[in-house]
């Protein structure tokens, strides 16, 4: 794949890549811009190579995720990769339209799988590739994440109704 084709491919996925970078950076826009810049640099310098063109989105998402983790660590915002994180007590009032705040209440891996599947219309298999985990593990994160997010949405909506 030559430079022009690569440029075209990146341009095609640019908006979604930025949104994913933002999600990987805990919705920090400035950090997301830095991450995306670094990702493009890595790709155009040939440090990251695409083997299968049909997996372009998975490939870009994967580079973004790992670059974001590095950036977060460098910024002192340590990213925990623990699998069995539990939701913090959901006693504080959360705005039911503050979608980002609700998603942030999920453990990181669950957030990522859920966002990839529901927001970016990817399959669980593709999200497993991005996270470099087995399909079975990705499915577990998906199921748990879905269940917890449903609970969180219901609680937020109940709080909103009671508050009115």
């Amino acid at each position: 794949m030559n430079r022009t084709q690569l440029d075209h491919l990146l341009k095609l996925h640019h908006r979604e890549a930025y949104l994913w970078a933002r999600q990987c950076c805990s919705f920090d826009e400035d950090l997301a811009k830095d991450v995306l810049q670094q990702v493009y640099l890595k790709i155009l310098e040939g440090k990251a190579k695409l083997k299968e063109e049909e997996k372009a989105k998975t490939w870009i998402f994967s580079i973004i995720r790992y670059t974001a983790i590095d950036q977060l660590r460098n910024a002192g915002k340590i990213v925990s990769m623990e699998v069995d994180e539990e939701i913090a007590d959901f006693e504080e009032e959360v705005d039911s339209t503050d979608y980002e705040a609700i998603i942030r209440l999920l453990p990181r891996m669950q957030q990522e799988v859920i966002l990839m599947v529901f927001y970016h219309q990817m399959t669980i298999g593709q999200s497993a590739e991005v996270l470099q985990i087995s399909l079975g593990t990705a499915r577990t994160h998906y199921d748990r994440g879905k269940k917890k997010l449903k609970e969180l949405i219901s609680i937020a909506q109940t709080q909103a109704q009671n508050g009115k």
């Binding site: 440029d7 930025y18 949104l19 933002r22 979608y99 927001y119 997010l149 449903k150």
Partner: protein
Amino acid sequence: MENNDQLNRFFEEMKAKDEGLSVPPFPTQKPKKLNAWIPIGIAASLTLIGIAVWFEKPVPDPPAEVIIITLQQGENQQQEITIEESTYLETWESPTSSLLTEY
């Protein structure tokens, strides 16, 4: 069959909200036309240096020696002029400098 209506609605609303986000423009490559100016610039600089060297006025060589002309009083109370040649001037001292201090 999964019932994901609640989640689908949640993410549709989230996406609608994100429509308002300002996405940074895709970084465009700067045209490489600038590179073509580099050899032109070098050629122009060399030409200018050549012209400057060509028209440069020859600088006369500095005299190898310094000529010191001294007016001093001779034995018969007459003024005498002595001419000395020296390679440097720094150590030269006026032979009449003592007169200045005496006055």
